[in-house]
Symmetry: C2
Subunit: 407 residues, 2 copies
């Protein structure tokens, strides 16, 4: 597996672009409309938010993907197109405008939105901006870059990756762009993530690969415990790599699925580390658990705890909060077996052994916790399973960003 540049335009036959059309009314310098388009029809698979309140684009996309195929994605930032009049009509209109500008049909498009909930989207801005977005469509890395930027809201950095793997003697490329910073606690679906690949793979296998991957990557991220109304992760596969079609869970499937997982894990980490106001990425790994499910619950409770998050911001090795969070996670474990270590690029320190505090060097701990990525390493001494979840610290800036998001 090899990491390359180019994001969603790295796989053969995909173009992308992003423009400012005016949904973000007062921010001329911020792009807000993205298109991704394939030269050939793609098999498509998606996961969606499990929030009972779903934004209109979720329903429209579900509908458009009913036949398991798509040609592209149209997405805007600045408005979630949720809980407002005309939301369904406007989501349909977005795909119609995209179809018109690209010579395709509306149902060829995945539709996605992200931004404020409850305000009617400026659909005229999207109509006006679409021809320019379509005209810009580029197969170069600048295409993916523009699209990645056009789906950002409070994100402080664009999130994209591409990598290659070998399937049946052919080089297969996967690319993706994603966005996500606040309202991040994905459940089945996730933030927005658009994945392209030139792999030849059946819809059934593509869907299975995605269903296997999302729960172990995006669904293991939490920023604030708020599951959004607009979460969506879509993968489009156009087959242009000309590898033998993946139809079964054979070795080729395994290679593809591993590449997909690496891609998604990278983006999941990007999203956690760019959590609203975050100053550092917090990775929690639970080892030697009875089951992967228990390990995941425990790790997620730890990275989700506001008290752990605030301690991480304060570089305070307050491991008691780690045990406390594990305790209310509802996962079974024996507190008296638990070891906890804090680790980062500069070293590691054991802070709790068999459920009890041990003497440790507070200065060393402080320096470990001051790094950009901190690992909370928990060993349960109970079994063979493990899981890793990602989050971020809780800072003044999270409160600032969210105290007045609408204005």
């Amino acid at each position: 597996m090899k990491q390359i540049s180019g994001g969603v335009t790295a796989p053969k036959g995909f173009k992308a672009w992003g423009v400012h059309c005016g949904v973000k009314a007062n921010k001329q310098d911020k792009k807000d409309l993205a298109i991704i388009l394939s030269e050939q029809e793609c098999t498509a698979a998606a996961t969606y938010t499990m929030n009972r309140v779903k934004a209109a684009p979720i329903y429209i996309t579900m509908n458009h993907l009913e036949d398991g195929t798509a040609w592209g994605v149209v997405a805007n930032s600045g408005n979630a197109n949720a809980c407002c009049p005309q939301s369904h009509e406007n989501a349909e209109l977005m795909s119609e405008y995209a179809a018109k500008a690209t010579g395709r049909s509306p149902s060829d498009f995945v539709v996605a939105s992200t931004g404020v909930i409850g305000q009617t989207i400026n659909i005229s801005a999207i109509e006006r901006g679409m021809p320019e977005a379509a005209k810009g469509l580029s197969a170069g890395p600048e295409g993916s870059d523009a699209a990645a930027r056009a789906i950002m809201t409070t994100d402080t950095c664009k999130k994209e990756l591409a990598l290659t793997c070998t399937v049946g003697g052919k080089t297969v490329t996967l690319g993706a762009i994603a966005k996500g910073s606040g309202m991040i606690h994905p459940n089945m679906g996730t933030m927005l993530c658009f994945i392209t690949t030139d792999c030849a793979i059946t819809q059934k296998m593509l869907s299975e690969a995605l269903q296997e991957t999302v729960p172990k990557t995006f669904n293991r991220v939490t920023v604030d415990g708020d599951t959004s109304t607009n979460d969506m992760c879509v993968v489009l596969a156009n087959g242009m790599a000309e590898n033998p079609l993946i139809e079964w869970k054979d070795d080729s499937y395994t290679v593809f699925q591993k590449a997909l997982r690496q891609l998604c894990e990278y983006l999941a980490r990007c999203i956690a580390g760019d959590g609203e106001g975050a100053s550092r990425l917090i990775t929690c790994t639970v080892h030697a658990a009875r089951s992967e499910e228990s390990a995941e619950r425990l790790a997620k409770a730890v990275v989700g705890s506001p008290l752990v998050k605030a301690a991480m911001f304060g570089t305070d090795a307050n491991w008691g909060r780690v045990l406390c969070a594990m305790g209310y996670s509802k996962a079974p474990f024996r507190p008296e077996y638990v070891d906890v270590k804090f680790a980062s690029a500069v070293g590691e320190v054991l802070v709790c052994r068999q459920g009890m505090g041990v003497d440790f060097d507070e200065e060393m701990a402080k320096s470990i916790l001051s790094q950009d990525e901190v690992i909370i390493d928990i060993c349960l001494h109970e079994g063979e399973h493990e899981a890793t979840c990602w989050g971020c610290d809780l800072t003044y800036d999270y409160v600032k960003i969210n105290g007045d998001y609408r204005t």
Copy 2:
């Protein structure tokens, strides 16, 4: 029902006191050791934290209350006596010192602790301070005041209440002190709350009354979603009001239970409003729900959402986040039926009708949201049930307080 002064010493036959003994080592002006004592044996009932990691005093208290009786409470702040060597021995020692200082036996005492997790408690300080605490025991309001202050950690105000009701022609008094500010997301048990009453009531009925009350009061509070390792709510009833013994769920039971609920609800609101760093109390009531359980889940998701909490801090009428939180609560409801109002002492404003935004006066909304208590009023238009939950806003100070709690 009548509210009176005196807290836990208001019911007949109860004394209390609190001192600084040195558990809070560097804070000479902060009390850290409390005793409550009854003149007569009490029937006793309790609820405890459901956290799998339970502090030693929880186990010791469970053990001491096995016979359904107690004479008093000994509690410290400044150290949770959890996840550290000698925690069980030290919790037992606390009750032994209390017994020695008061001429009772160790198993007559409820033992409770609150404070930092994972550091061995300074048990010598407690041993040295106990005689002074016992000597101070007072039946006056100053006794309850001292005990209420001695269980505070990051609380900014003491929490106590007393009220009277008439049972079988006799005046029955209930009093309570409580503490709680952070790590607040009670589950079955709660923070620390010690309730005294002179009511004559069987242990079975006392326990039933408490089990009915806690889920509707303390368990409807959330500050940060962190369920503590030390939560405990205890009620001691010494029978000195000489009312006819409450043995069945008759009218007298109903009167007593209502008084108990009012007492607990008041303290639950105090705890929510004094949530760490909070600038305002957020009350969410969900009306016209299919079931009380659904209403409670929805209301709790709303007051627990970091994004709603941050918006409340910023006095931003961002009702989309309210719907979003309802959506991920896992409770069934129809988004397209939902009305949302924000209300406070200065008025109310409808912001969402049938699941969609309505035009509203932003200035008016801002002024409503600027008050000390804000109500989020949600109508589901689906049934007859309702529930209210309490929380607080998320402020810079929450992050500050918890960024470096241990030092």
